[in-house]
Symmetry: C2
Subunit: 190 residues, 2 copies
Amino acid sequence: MSYHHGDLRSALLAASFELLAEGGLAKFSVAAVARRLGVSSAAPYRHFPDRAHLLSAVSAVAARDLRAAILADPAGGLLAVAGAYVRSVVRTGAGFPVIFAAELYAVPDDERREHTRALISTLLELAPGPTHTEAFRQVEATIAVAQGYVTLYCEGFFDSRSVPVDDLVARAVEAARALTQPGRTPQGTA
Amino acid sequence: MSYHHGDLRSALLAASFELLAEGGLAKFSVAAVARRLGVSSAAPYRHFPDRAHLLSAVSAVAARDLRAAILADPAGGLLAVAGAYVRSVVRTGAGFPVIFAAELYAVPDDERREHTRALISTLLELAPGPTHTEAFRQVEATIAVAQGYVTLYCEGFFDSRSVPVDDLVARAVEAARALTQPGRTPQGTA
DNA sequence: GTCTATAGAACGATAGAC
DNA sequence: GTCTATCGTTCTATAGAC
């Protein structure tokens, strides 16, 4: 080992996203990240005090980038949320289950908290409303269907070779469109 | 240790579901299952040759029970699929990501394959169609939204104390209703 | 059919050399 | 700031006693 990197911190984050995209949180480990970069397993601990803080930094970047992707999507509104979510998360492996991972709740990282707050705020602004509660439900449903497609895709339920990401995005957007289409009657489960 | 069980095999399956419901696949391990039952970590290997075969048996039971729950749901059709899926999977922890886990693909277990085949078959029969392809897409979307709600719920995105399972089920069913409502125009993403 | 004991691997994290 | 080396833990799986 003789790796001298200019910015190991950034490299660790990039490698973390690679690992997450390939195998999800299950395959993520500090050791694996270090291995991928050709540095010792101790090196990451110079930049992050422990595994949780590394994941927290990953969460912050994921939240920031996801928000940016949503705002840049020409579809706009919740359709942009669904489309950008599926496309981003399939690529980075870091969707809500990583961004809001339970193991991060107790990690005091102001930067992460600021980025996740901004993300949620943006999501709510993109929902048509009319009430705050209703907007929240619309965001919920949109993220749920997008995350659902991502989960099934990443777990191999779709044949990833025969279903390109673009098709997956299209299906999620189509589902999101149906979810918020006006004229339907939201009533009980009976 | 002095545990003599009449049917350790069944107990191992039950304990596996408990673990999955509490912590998902991440917290599942043969050792943890044994620990929960108060038996030695070697005991499970008398009933299952390895971890993959234990999980395969879990998958078979999950597929069978999920199919039964769907068929027993008075809502019928894809609404029953969404409702029963959310309710069952929140309780058992074993949804599609477990039933069709990638690590099971190479495990030759005829019983599991038969149960999963029957499940898929039932799902397709419940979709309104009209074409086979369209039915498949409808099932996909329904499972995606149901799995999405489950994922967000289990990852703690919802406050599990303030959102009872019944509410979660209701929201998923409502979303599924929107997904298959007639009159909408399935077109491209533009 | 369950136990004790153990081998071997992966991981989180730390100490100390450089 | 990275390395080597190491400790303690958890896990999968096997061997052998009972």
